[in-house]
Symmetry: C2
């Protein structure tokens, strides 16, 4: 289901879809851009992925679902969404660009399960202060930070 049309109030993602969609439309309008079905599809897919994804994940997912969205459009939309603050590039462990939903969800800090790929938000106490301190020491202005903590399931027989 695309975002703009036929939205029903019973989806469990709606709490996030609704405002996100609005943010996106507002942003698009503010720069004279259009809210097209393709862009809605992309946003919808991103929301449903619920985690970190690559451009190709989106493309595969959309095509597997029979959506008619081209590679070029996925990349173009992703770029717009980055500028709009809807998605953000996250730290990549490997080669490709990876993104995550940046709106409505979470802080910027994550616990990444290396076994399975699940990602959850964390809020380590005092982290922001620590980062601000680093900046203060170097005489630069703190603008933000992002932390990934990597973990695996605890050992059983070890």
């Amino acid at each position: 289901m695309a975002l703009g049309a036929n939205r029903r109030p019973d989806g469990d993602d709606l709490e996030i879809i609704e405002p996100l969609c609005a943010v996106f439309r507002r942003r698009l309008k503010s720069e004279g851009a259009k809210y097209t079905p393709e862009r809605a599809e992309v946003l919808d897919a991103i929301v449903r992925i619920e985690g970190i994804f690559e451009a190709e994940d989106l493309l595969e997912r959309l095509q597997a679902e029979g959506r008619r969205v081209s590679k070029a459009t996925v990349y173009r939309t992703l770029k717009i969404m980055q500028d709009a603050g809807i998605v953000q590039r996250v730290l990549s462990v490997g080669d490709q660009a990876r993104y995550q939903l940046a709106y409505g969800r979470a802080g910027t800090d994550q616990l990444v399960r290396l076994d399975g790929g699940r990602v959850e938000s964390i809020e380590p106490p005092g982290l922001k202060a620590l980062c601000e301190q680093v900046c203060a020491q170097r005489g630069v202005k703190y603008q933000g930070h992002r932390l990934q903590v990597f973990a695996t399931a605890p050992e059983r027989g070890g």
Copy 2:
């Protein structure tokens, strides 16, 4: 100056070059690989860069200095060094893979200048402990972490 030959005890990088070179040679030998002049050049360039670099930085630098090392060799050497733990990939802000010396130096945490793109390594005190604590609380095994702190030049008139 390549690493293996003509080393003199007055260089200020030697304290790091020496053991690194040894580590590299040992590693190469352990897998039946050879210690070639090209590999020495690459290692030398990496040490002299003293920070985060991309493959192309190495290539440019080497070629600007008249070293005869090809792109392919730079990439191949970089891969070997990664496996050997001599360099590590670090978080990329843009598109390309970035590396830094992983031996004797620095961790994975960075201060990213949003104005200009400079990246430098930082070591916020207690960060690792904080991350380990997060893992402990969730009952997972800490495997590592990565932090990026974003900053801009301090305001002057604001």
